[in-house]
């Protein structure tokens, strides 16, 4: 880059934590501003989509895109940023794996609308009004984005060049990635920019062979400060979670929840966790094994797919059209 590069940052279905994480690099943000012209960053700068639409294709050198794809607007923006950017980075867990928004795939759009617009105690909606994609008013037609049945990741929507894991990515790792991009020392396209091993590698706790008689919830014990949390019965996802955070949670006695996503080469984080834990349960008695699992892990999706349900092999619970029995699928017209 002879001149300054062109940088864009965008957010889709996300909490905003990724934006804050970018600022977490502190004064180095000035170095970023020195290296790049920031053309689009809705969270921080005023900007208009129409201005981006007018730019030439591939005229943005680098786009950090955080958030999952939940609505038609987000999908449109994903396609737009893809079209205009040379390098599109899925920034953070939502863009990479669906993250917390992706947990909506454990239910249906209808159930979500039912809860949000009717059932919550704070909702007052005597006419049973729901948002519509098109509404006629005196001044003309108002449009709202279409709310999809299923949350998708950025990579399931458009081609992604790189993935930066984490919920949110640690500022040091963001800076590492920016440096790698500036120095053109990037891995093969499609890769995750990050470590190739898991949180245990950074965890200071001592580890022994694993045999688990009982899974404990965090409120049930005060864990020993030196021994592996999993060996103490806490479901610590550090064994399956990509390193990069510095093992922040297990170091202070809180089990890893898997926010840095699966290790290099792993497609389904939850499946990895489940096969690993299933293999170290210390019992040969099927009834006891059932008890250990049911009492210790009351919420398997929330435990093993907290960050990765949308990206998992199954992606979502079954819908009636695909063989599901409980869920009710609503049509686009009824929304």
């Amino acid at each position: 880059m002879s001149e300054k590069g062109v940088l864009a940052l965008y957010w889709a279905a996300s909490c905003g934590g990724c934006e804050i994480a970018v600022l977490g690099i502190n004064e180095k943000i000035l170095d970023v501003a020195a290296a790049f012209d920031i053309v689009f960053w809705p969270c921080v700068l005023d900007g208009k989509v129409r201005d981006i639409e007018k730019m030439d294709d591939k005229s943005i050198d680098l786009c950090f895109f955080n958030g999952a794809i939940r609505t038609s607007e987000q999908e449109y923006m994903a396609r737009l940023m893809r079209q205009k950017s040379k390098v599109l980075v899925a920034f953070g867990s939502c863009a990479q794996e669906g993250c917390i928004p992706g947990l909506a795939n454990a239910t249906t759009k209808e159930a979500i609308f039912q809860t949000s617009y009717h059932d919550t105690p704070s909702t007052v909606n005597p006419d049973g009004i729901r948002p519509q994609t098109e509404t006629e008013v005196a001044e003309g037609t108002l449009y709202l984005p279409f709310f999809y049945e299923t949350v998708k990741t950025l990579g399931q929507t458009v081609d992604v060049d790189y993935y930066l894991p984490g919920c949110p990515p640690e500022p040091e790792r963001i800076w590492d990635a920016i440096v790698a991009i500036l120095e053109n020392k990037l891995p093969a396209p499609g890769s995750v920019i990050g470590a190739e091993t898991t949180v245990c590698d950074e965890c200071p706790r001592t580890r022994d062979e694993k045999k688990i008689k009982e899974f404990k919830r965090t409120w049930e014990i005060i864990p020993d400060s030196d021994i592996c949390l999993l060996e103490q019965g806490l479901v610590c996802c550090g064994i399956a979670t990509r390193a990069g955070c510095g093992a922040l949670c297990p170091t202070v006695g809180s089990p890893c929840i898997g926010c840095y996503g699966p290790n290099e080469g792993v497609d389904d984080f939850g499946a990895r966790m489940m096969t690993a834990l299933a293999s170290v349960i210390d019992s040969d008695d099927p009834e006891e094994i059932d008890r250990i699992i049911h009492e210790g892990i009351p919420d398997p999706i929330g435990t093993f797919y907290r960050f990765s349900l949308a990206h998992s092999e199954l992606r979502r619970i079954a819908l009636p059209a695909n063989g599901g029995s409980d869920a009710k699928l609503e049509t686009a017209e009824s929304a």
């Binding site: 923006m77 245990c200 590698d201 580890r207 062979e209 290099e264």
Partner: protein
Amino acid sequence: MAERVGVYICHCGSNIAGKVDVENVSQWAGEELDNVVVSRDYEFMCSSLGQELIEEDIKNEGLTRVVVGACSPHLHEKTFRKACSNAGLNPYLCQMASLREQVSWVTEDETLATAKSKAMISGAVKRVLLHEELEPTEVPVNPHSLVVGGGIAGIQTALELANSGNPVFLVEREPSIGGHMAQFDKTFPTLDCSACILTPNMSDVSSHPNITLLAYSEVEDVSGFIGNFHVRIRKKARYVIEEDCTGCGICIEKCPKKVLDNVFEAGIGYRKSIYRPFPQAVPKYPVIDTESCIYFDRGTCKACEKFCPTNAIDFEQKDTYIDIDVGNIILATGYDTFDSRKIPQYGYGRLANVFTSLEFERLCNASGPTDGKILLRDGVTTPKSVAIIHCVGSRDTRFNAHCSAVCCMSALKFGHLVIEKTGAEVHSFYTDMRPTFKDYEEFYHRLLEEGMHFTRGRVAEVTDAARQPGEEGKLIIQVEDTLIGRQRRIPVDMVILMTALEPKPDAREVGLKFGISCSMAGWFTERHPKLDPVATMTDGIFIAGACQGPKDIPASVSQGAAAAARVLGMIMKGAVEIEPVVATIHEERCSGCRICNTLCPFNAIDYVEDKMVSVINQALCKGCGTCVAACPAQAISGAHYSNDQIFAEIEGLLFDVVQGNGSKPVVEEPEAVPA
């Protein structure tokens, strides 16, 4: 370069062709499947002509991959791999589809069977495209061997190996070798004196220059792999210095403490606190039982030390550890007997004159506590009638489903001994009479002629509650005689329970230590029940005798010799080839979480402390894939079973379901509308 795949569909006579339209499958594969350049069907692919077909095509058509749709790979994978390597193709570039076991034998409908065959072939073709060339590795074999267990099977194995000029370590848990055979009085059906035929072999073991006998010792730890095992043995403290002891026995004579001998004398005889299990024990050195020894209890006595002429007693002796390297290991750890107290209605432990079969062996034995006289528990009365109850704990789904194999013949032997020594009436209560081997049936007829009574039926109860005249003071057998369909009550003086043979209680732990598995019941599992009965799934570990399942002395001896022959074959070859289908831990991805450490059924995984990673010993790995599945970081890959290969096979199997490369979308979403 595009791979060139040859597909071969076997008719297997009518086994496959009778259900599957093999011509259709073969033609379809040639026309529809990518990369397939040759597709044939043939009556017997495993025949030499069938194999030549493959070899010729590799040479003439330039095949780079081969798929054979035939029987299970268990049967003929080696055959077709060999055909490939004969023609210069790496044998691991061949894949089998099991069209017989998984299709024709288990599918009723012919149309479905043909469709399923196509799916299987499609999966195999997709998979074989991703196969990698693999090369077996060769490791040398240490000529030393370890035999675990000094019963008749272990003795036989050790002598066979030692006589061939190879060094052997023989480890025995008890103070003496000899096992159960040393406890018996006579052997069936020849009525040879058990000790007389056993003890020469025992003394051969003790004097053999190639045998290192480690009695009163146990294997603590096993590591390594075929040809190169490292074994740590704990030699338990005898409190007798073996180098100084002459075996004179004065210490035993002078020891003031007498205790019940629950092991060798089966609880009906006594021994001293310092003891030898039996006079001909090998080795001859006594051992102090610290639990009953007065000195170890109260700190005084030391009678043995005072009288020992060679100062061989050492109360301070500690367990010692011996590390040895061996090439092969033979387990001959034997069996245990069923605890008859688990069937309370037979009265063992409650009714004095109910004996177990092992107790009766000691009772009959001339060197036993009654000098071979058959007496009731009071030690003076000779029984006038004896009942022998078969299948106590055997062929009974509450305890052991299996037949203990030896009890029918032992019962006949007991009947003969009772008649010969006491002239008493003998009643046998049997389920089925099973005298199956050479001269056994003849022995049964001999007992019929000697007047032993046989009642077919499972005994309901042994009781001392008399109901009828003539039953007072007797043990009454309540039984349904199933041949006449009537209940009977038979009063007797003595009852012998033919207790089941059971796996040693620690068989599972021992199996784990040596990396071999047990059946549900707890017997060690052989590599193949018909064709490979003394090998195990772990190369270099063999099994012999009753640890593999109930068997009599000749069968145990045969297995001991067979295991020795297998080991000798390995020693003579000098090296073994190790299968390359193994798992590998990629160090850079391993975080050392240690999830995999306890999972390997072959003990192939070690944790390297200083690097904080786990490693797989490829010579030990059997490629089972347990660790590959369990590794949460996917740091372990299994050669020949990579994710890509398996996904490709699944995709191939679903050829008529899956469109294009990816799966169908879960649900069609409407087109995006502009924001």
